[in-house]
């Protein structure tokens, strides 16, 4: 029997009903647009405009700050107001370009014009993807052109388009599949054209039958593309879990998907690839789910990057009561916000606001060794032991029980009946070990 899922995982409250059946509508920003220089993994981008400059929609306003980095394009036309540090989703201040929107949406030359991908060489396609500022839009923000440039093109045999959207409340990928399915197929075909030996698999969780049907319809006649139904369970869409479900191959923290012959891209990212290559449009828009029980009219918006979250809340009818918790992203891996005066970036998938905080209902108590965290961990770790090691600051023990394999999915903390902050503690220790490794590597490089 074909396995449609992995061992472990949890079934959190989905909350998708709030928004899934409402069409995603385009929202045009009213206020200033803010473009943080860090909205991807890697070096921050470098501004190439100055205050006072006139900028056009689609114009590159910041260039890549290194190899692992990504340029940033302006999503409107207007004037650069200032360049200053602003608050971002992570709670830190990041240098950003602030653009005053003139509402004209005057575009750079050629923006939106069709272009035949077949007329481009593989290198040209990769360059376009790089210069269009495309990064993983599922949340990770890893520059897509690097993913699409593995050591050995011929070894890639599976391109997985991740439409599983296992995070609760999020329906933006679902809306993309329903509303822009053709572009997903188009983008996937462009990616497939880079890899001769690859087949394309669009993986969708079985709680989205309409999307599965629709994508199957669109994929008809495409002999290199199949749609794969996977079981609804969190974190079905986590890269490692998804690869193992689709191909049966398993990777660990020291491997890349390419080592398993795979490249995984989120549906929105694939649409961005299509727009960049076939429509000459850099990454300047994305879908954002605005949802939660404290939002008056939850729905999805197609927004310009740089739009302020507050505008989106207003567009969704505002709060119906005082939110107790606000999250950027899903409830399992998203970041809690203390301020919504922050801009939409390339990786902002959702803005959620809730009247209640489920954390309040589970008091923190000592571990009762119930084993729930062990059963839930999709990485087959023993979170209870990892947390013990983390609490003792015993990094060695932490690594010995494979702490570095944690994907920070949140399942363990979700199930813990004693309300222990397992994921949080493990994440912190993991990050500190990674930082240490980086420092050591840098010191070693400097010594040479």
């Amino acid at each position: 029997m074909r396995k449609d899922t992995f061992r472990g995982g949890v079934h959190p409250y989905e909350g998708k009903k709030l928004t899934e059946d409402r069409e995603a509508i385009t929202y045009l920003p009213k206020g200033d647009l803010v473009f943080p220089m860090s909205q991807h993994i890697g070096a921050p981008a470098k501004p190439i405009v100055a205050p006072g400059d006139r900028v056009l929609m689609g114009q590159t306003i910041a260039e890549a700050g290194g190899f692992v980095s990504s340029p940033i394009a302006c999503s409107v036309s207007g004037h650069v107001k200032e360049i200053k540090p602003v608050l971002t989703v992570s709670g830190s201040m990041v240098q950003a370009i602030v653009v005053e929107n003139d509402g004209l949406y005057e575009a750079v030359e050629g923006l939106g014009e069709e272009r035949d991908p077949a007329s481009l060489s593989r290198q040209e396609i990769r360059d376009i993807i790089r210069d269009s500022g495309i990064v993983g839009m599922g949340g990770a923000g890893f520059p897509t052109f690097i993913k699409l440039s593995p050591k050995n093109d011929a070894a890639i045999d599976t391109i997985i388009v991740n439409g599983s959207e296992c995070e609760p409340y999020l329906t933006s990928d679902y809306r993309v599949m329903l509303q822009e399915g053709e572009r997903i197929i188009g983008g996937l075909k462009i990616i497939l054209s880079l890899f001769d030996n690859a087949r394309g698999v669009i993986a969708i969780e079985d709680n989205k039958p309409r999307a599965i049907e629709h994508m199957k319809e669109l994929a008809k006649g495409e002999d290199r593309i199949t749609v794969r139904k996977v079981k609804t369970k969190y974190p079905e869409g986590a890269e490692r879990q998804l690869i193992s479900v689709v191909t049966g191959r398993k990777i660990n923290s020291s491997m890349l998907p390419a080592d398993a012959g795979c490249i995984v891209d989120n549906v929105d990212t694939v649409v961005a690839v299509y727009m960049a290559v076939a429509r000459r449009t850099p990454l300047i828009r994305r879908l954002v789910t605005v949802s939660g029980d404290a939002i008056t009219e939850p729905r999805n918006f197609i927004v310009k990057t740089g739009t302020n979250y507050n505008e989106l809340i207003e567009a969704a009818g505002g709060f119906n009561s005082n939110p107790v918790k606000m999250i950027s992203g899903g409830t399992m891996m998203g970041l809690a916000l203390f301020d919504t005066n922050i801009p939409v970036t390339k990786t902002s998938s959702a803005l959620l606001a809730f009247k209640e905080d489920p954390l309040d209902k589970v008091p923190t108590q000592p571990c009762i060794r119930c084993g729930r965290c062990v059963a839930a961990c999709p990485q087959h770790l023993v979170p209870q032991m990892l947390m013990d090691a983390a609490e003792k600051f015993d990094n060695e023990a932490f690594e010995a029980v494979n702490g570095m394999e944690c994907v920070e999915c949140g399942c363990c903390a979700y199930v813990c009946p004693s309300g222990r902050p397992l994921t949080q503690a493990i994440k912190q220790t993991r990050r500190s070990i990674l930082d240490e490794r980086k420092k050591k590597a840098a010191a070693a490089a400097a010594a040479k």
């Binding site: 959190p12 490692r240 891996m333 916000l337 571990c367 060794r369 009946p417 902050p421």
Partner: protein
Amino acid sequence: MKELVNVSASPHDRSGRTTASLMLDVVIALIPASLFGVFQFGLKALLVLVTSVVSAVLAEYLWNHFMKKPKAPYECSAVVTGLLLGLNFPASIPLWIPVVGSAFAIIVVKQMYGGLGRNFMNPALGARCFLVICFAGRMTDFAVEKGNAVINGFAGVDGLSRATPLGIIKDLSATTSVGSAVSVSDMFFGFTGGVIGETSALAILIGGLYLVIRKVISLRIPLAYIISCGLFMLVFSGRGFDAEYLIAQLVGGGLMLGAWFMATDYVTSPITPWGQIIYGILLGVLTGLIRLCSSGAEGVSFTIIFCNLLVPLIEKMTMPKAFGLEKKSKKKKEA
């Protein structure tokens, strides 16, 4: 934003299961066995159970009070300990013994080792064994008053017998059939002598089933325990495949209560899935061994306590293989 909002690290949702709700489920699962005990042994049994529970809760309260522990939300685990201990007394027990037992369970076995989650021995069983050692006679005094129709109905043994069915079976010669001495169906339904909560396998199974359905426990430990004990008896009892004997062994004595409620105690059993299976098998084999080789007919309590001590070792041996590292660890072993 003028209002204060909660800021915390992900995940931002919880399953809603709390320690208190799990413990409450265990209490609910013990209700059938408790009710049956009261029905069978009368109000005296109820008094024993209530005394055990109240003194366990009180002992914990007093400990927390005098040790100046910070106030924590109540999680019912002392209720579970008290009730489990109470179910292990014969109804004839003088009431001061449950008081001593509960206090011992909570203060010595649980709190002195660091409290909830840190004791390495099942508190109820630890106390039971302590009491058996100190007051052996009282703990195994299964005298039932004359005129108790339920007990007197049970085959071949008069109302004043002090033997449990397992004891009777043990004294049988290998050629005498089990059915001629005890009624296996009575043992299953619970119409026999014994401690308050152990007699009815059916009532315990109903509770066990509830725990499984409510996902409080998995089947790993109880099934591994019961199956391995059955297999051990099958091979080594010298009776071969004697269905009546095997069933009598499995439903008799403390095995059912032990397998479903004692061995599955979270704190003192392994948290690794394979560890739970190995733990169950170990329990089954050791229980069988004690029942066949020692002078007593029982063995469940001591077996579980003994295996409690092995849990850290079992866990170490059964660490799950991390996702994507399965092959690597194999290679390491080969090297």
